[in-house]
């Protein structure tokens, strides 16, 4: 478990660095700490809920086994993302930087990274689903239900965690700014002060 945590921290730091470089070296170096912290905080906050869900779905996995499985999923995701960090870094350094007038290629960079995170997460979860079948003889409906519930919990808590720890990468036009390490509950450009408000504002933009 310690080894998995170390690998996770190194891999996620590497990816965090590459996406932060799209804004500045300050962001990139901060992400060396912030990105692993984001993943580990999410895993820590959800640890009990992961276990209760696993029990509810009638698996006989112990608390430690559940945490190990979850950590494996996060680690695999982080390693897959880390393998994309050279690409991400290359794009970050060569994209058309946003200005006050135009977003440049920033939406492309942001979109690609969201796709990569989703792709790597799905691959890691899919792989773990196969492991669960092989090693714990969990049947398909239970595997799917458990992994889906874990994903939903991670998104629910991880979204707010990412919001609180933002910025991870941002618009280059703000390069002159020196934001705090965490923006916390500071409102975004639409006035949202939490992840859930930000999602709500996307669904129903404020007037």
């Amino acid at each position: 478990m310690i080894r998995a945590t170390v690998v996770l921290a190194l891999a996620s730091a590497s990816y965090g660095f590459s996406i932060g470089a799209s804004h500045s070296w300050l962001y990139a170096t901060r992400n060396l700490v912030k990105f692993p912290l984001l993943i580990l905080t999410t895993a820590g906050v959800c640890a009990l809920a992961y276990f209760v869900v696993a029990r509810f779905l009638a698996t006989r996995l112990s608390f430690v086994q559940v945490q190990r499985l979850v950590l494996d999923i996060f680690r695999d995701t982080a390693v897959l993302l880390a393998s994309l960090s050279p690409v991400s870094l290359f794009l970050a350094l060569t994209m058309v930087q946003p200005t006050r007038e135009s977003l440049g290629e920033y939406p492309m960079f942001q979109g690609l990274n969201i796709c990569w995170i989703a792709l790597c997460g799905c691959l890691a979860v899919g792989q773990k689903a196969r492991d669960l079948l092989r090693e714990h003889r969990l049947d398909r409906p239970h595997r799917l239900a458990m992994l889906t519930a874990w994903l939903a919990l991670s998104l629910f808590a991880g979204g707010q965690c990412a919001w609180y720890m933002r910025p991870f990468f941002g618009i280059g036009a703000l390069k002159g700014d020196s934001p705090p390490f965490f923006l916390g509950t500071a409102p975004d450009f639409r006035g949202a002060r939490s992840f859930y408000e930000a999602v709500w504002n996307l669904v129903q933009p404020p007037r």
């Binding site: 959800c46 009990l48 509810f56 009638a58 006989r60 112990s62 608390f63 086994q65 916390g184």
Partner: protein, 230 residues
């Protein structure tokens, strides 16, 4: 993954247990033995086993209720779990009202329990008071365990979200999590009722179950208003 599988709840000399996949293993139900008083007592010393007894080992739980083996011990365990499991969430929600979440779930069920007993007897469902009580207490016990799982998440959200009123406040999320816990508690009762053919009698009066669960939802809502949770 090479970690050891958690030992059986009953220890090496206990009754046979199904393999890692217990959910959906209804055919294996017949060969399962009920929980013994010793197992239930041991769970109080090792609270992590409560999750196994209440959530994971549905088939054995139903067998215990059906066979009325150590049933009052089981009722005591369910009651204790309903109260203690909900305390951390209550403490995070409002330190001055730590017991309110426990009261919300357990109190509502206890208020509605007499109606379940009387109506089920009237409609010819032959379950004893202890059996009905154990079935009813499954709801707050399962809900409390989910609250226990959710309390670190809620604590984190409350600590990182703005305190003043917003589109979505931490309190709204607490209400959402409590609702999810209650719904999962209700679904757990229904799963237990459908896992064993011996509870056919109870299942056959689905109108009673539907009506009683609707009543419970309404009373829980009113209880939440009275306790200031809503």
């Amino acid at each position: 993954m090479t970690g050891p599988i958690e030992p059986p709840l009953s220890g090496p000399a206990g009754p046979p247990l199904p393999d890692a996949r217990e959910g959906g293993a209804a055919p294996a139900t017949a060969c399962l033995l009920p929980f013994t008083a010793d197992e239930l007592r041991a769970a109080l010393h090792h609270p992590q086993r409560l999750l196994g007894i209440i959530l994971a080992e549905r088939a054995r739980l139903v067998t215990s209720i059906r066979a009325e083996a150590s049933l009052w011990h089981l009722v005591a365990v369910l009651l204790l779990c309903s109260i203690v499991g909900a305390l951390p969430f209550g403490a995070v929600l409002d330190r001055g009202k730590t017991g309110h979440v426990a009261l919300l779930f357990t109190g509502s069920v206890l208020i509605c329990f007499p109606s379940l007993q009387v109506f089920s007897s009237y409609l010819g469902v032959r379950l004893s008071i202890a059996q009905n009580l154990a079935l009813a207490l499954l709801i707050p016990a399962a809900a409390a365990l989910f609250c226990f799982g959710f309390f670190p998440i809620y604590w984190f959200l409350e600590a990182t979200m703005p305190a003043e009123r917003a589109v979505l406040s931490a309190k709204d999320i607490a209400i959402g999590l409590l609702t999810i816990s209650l719904v999962l508690g209700l679904s757990h009762l229904n799963r237990c009722l459908f896992v064993d053919s011996a509870l056919q009698e109870m299942r056959s009066s689905w109108l009673l179950l539907l009506g009683w669960q609707s009543l419970l939802l309404f009373i829980t809502y009113r209880m939440a208003v009275v306790l200031g949770i809503l």
